[in-house]
Amino acid sequence: MNLTRMMALMRARFREFYRDKASWSWNLAMPILIIAGFAFIFSGDSKDLFKVAVLQSDSKADIAFLKTDYIRFIRVTELQDAITRVQRHQVDMLLDLTATPRYWVNEYSANGYMLEKLFRESFTMAPLNVQREVVSGKDIRYVDWVMPGVLAMNMLFSCLWGVGWVVVRYRKNGVLRRLQATPLTAFEFLSAQVIARLIIVTVVTLMVFAGADLVVDFTMRGSYLALFLVFFSGAACFTSMGLLVATRLKTEEVADGLLSLMSWPMMIMSGVWFSMEGTHPVAQFISQLFPLTHLVDASRRIMIDGAGITGVAFEIGLLCSLTLLLLFVSSKLFRWS
């Protein structure tokens, strides 16, 4: 072991790192942004023990229960959707104050049981003529809930790095220049990259889907065709995002950073690991700007709620439109070298 040679190599490696100015921003800024992001998203009162959905008319009924501490009251507008959430244990109770006061609890929910007792206790002093409704539904396992997000996230990384990073590497090491010297056009090259990646991602996702199903037997209530269309449009969108990054960058380090900047906020704020419900309103708004959010929402509606193609047509249309826009911009910006 020769320490002199090792030290020389280490010095060269340190120089490589600190002379790469772009790398500094990703190594320092990214962790800080992530921490700040989490702090922002969860910057609310986190002491609440129960969640109650409230369907309320414009008349402001003075109900003491609504002023109970440590209960998060979430205003909802769609009755059926809210009932479904009670069935899914996503809220512990639904309170309908629009006409005849009614409430729903899930007979399988321990939280619902306790909350009902609190609720009934609250109007022993101020009587309230309220109708009780009972629904039933088994709690959705976390793995069932998270599965669509994991598939979508896997697809996101595969598309972004599989196209974006690779094309940048091609540019850096001269592969693009060699191809440019042939009659191959930029459009042909880009199309080939997109189509190849779509096929790869589709096959891999199918394999992951089948493999995961064998292992965990997750819930799949909806249309396989709808799921395929949603995931395919999502993959096309992510691939075109990767292309956008690859249009002119010349180093993999900068590409890595940009792709991380695109993917990490989506991974955290698109509802992949936890619901964005109850997070800061601005965080929820930002979440809606991410294509991954729409892919996760749509696939979750298909797999857990049994939605069909018409139920996710909006998300498919949105993802396809974004794909076309990104492809158009990428084709205008692309340079071989």
Partner: protein, 293 residues
């Protein structure tokens, strides 16, 4: 013979340097034209403008007498100075992929035999030696049976044996009637392969012509070189002997007479070298510095 390719007053600048400063020349069909010069002279930038990879800031490039059109890329083959290929491809797969880029292709089997690729035809391209890789890249440059071939420093990094083997390949291509434009900083390579050369330095052509004709024009046919230590009393030397990089040089038409003269002056001849002048001597004479930096 008419010019197949003509460059007229090409200029290309970058933020801190003018890489190509008014270069112009014509290449006759069926010839091998060399751009010779040190690193950073502007050879590769000139080549890339001719290939269409980069656009000149000003100047014209004419192919077969007309401005370069869509068909140009179908008619040319290029071997860049440094190129990576797609990963996880074998040699035959790489060749086949590039062949698919063109409407007209050469016979792949003949190409494989010409470039001696048989022994590693199924090997991963990442596992090729330097010489093998250059042969593959040459084959790729020939895959569309081009009329005009650009070779940018094709033997840089090769060992002497591989370099000479590569020269044989280029000579075979010449015999097939192809036109070749070659850049190199190896004067022996330019002398051996090129029918015409331009010597480039600092973005300009400083001289052009047939290599033999240029050497005859500027030098006597023979140069005698002596180590500095061989001459104990330099004061007595005649003016035609010059000291350069630790060697005394004497260009002469009559070797015997010059040897006799040196002996009579008491010069030790044990370590003398007698050779013909080279393009490097020419470059040194014209620019005042060595070709190899």
């Amino acid at each position: 013979m008419s010019a197949i390719l003509e460059a007229q007053n090409l200029v290309k600048s970058y933020p801190e340097v003018i890489a190509v400063d008014g270069i112009g020349f014509a290449v006759e069909a069926g010839s091998c034209y060399g751009l010779l010069g040190p690193n950073g002279a502007g050879k590769t930038t000139t080549m890339e403008m001719l290939e269409g990879v980069i656009q000149p800031d000003s100047g014209k490039i004419l192919y077969q007498g007309k401005a370069v059109g869509v068909s140009f890329k179908h008619d040319i083959g290029i071997q860049f100075q440094s190129t990576s290929l797609l990963d996880y491809q074998t040699v035959i797969e790489a060749l086949t992929m590039f062949a698919a880029m063109y409407e007209k292709t050469a016979n792949l089997q003949e190409l494989i035999e010409l470039c001696h690729l048989q022994e590693f035809i199924n090997r991963d391209t990442r596992k090729l030696s330097g010489g093998q890789r250059q042969r593959l890249l040459l084959a790729i440059a020939l895959v569309n049976d081009p009329t005009l071939i650009f070779l940018d420093e094709p033997t840089t990094g090769l060992d002497p044996q591989s370099r000479r083997n590569f020269w044989h390949l280029i000579e075979s291509i010449k015999l097939a009637g192809k036109t070749i434009i070659l850049t190199t900083h190896y004067m022996e390579e330019a002398y051996r392969l090129c029918d015409y050369i331009s010597i480039v330095d600092k973005g300009k052509i400083i001289i052009e012509g047939n290599p033999d004709a240029l050497l005859k024009q500027h030098f006597a046919p023979t140069v005698i070189r002596l180590p500095q230590a061989a001459i104990l009393n330099p004061v007595n030397l005649s003016e035609d002997i010059i000291l350069l990089d630790g060697l005394y040089e004497l260009f002469t038409d009559d070797v015997s007479a010059s040897i006799a003269r040196l002996e009579s002056q008491g010069v030790g001849l044990d370590d003398c070298q007698i050779s013909a002048p080279t393009l490097e001597d020419l470059f040194l004479k014209l620019t005042g510095h060595a070709l190899r930096t």
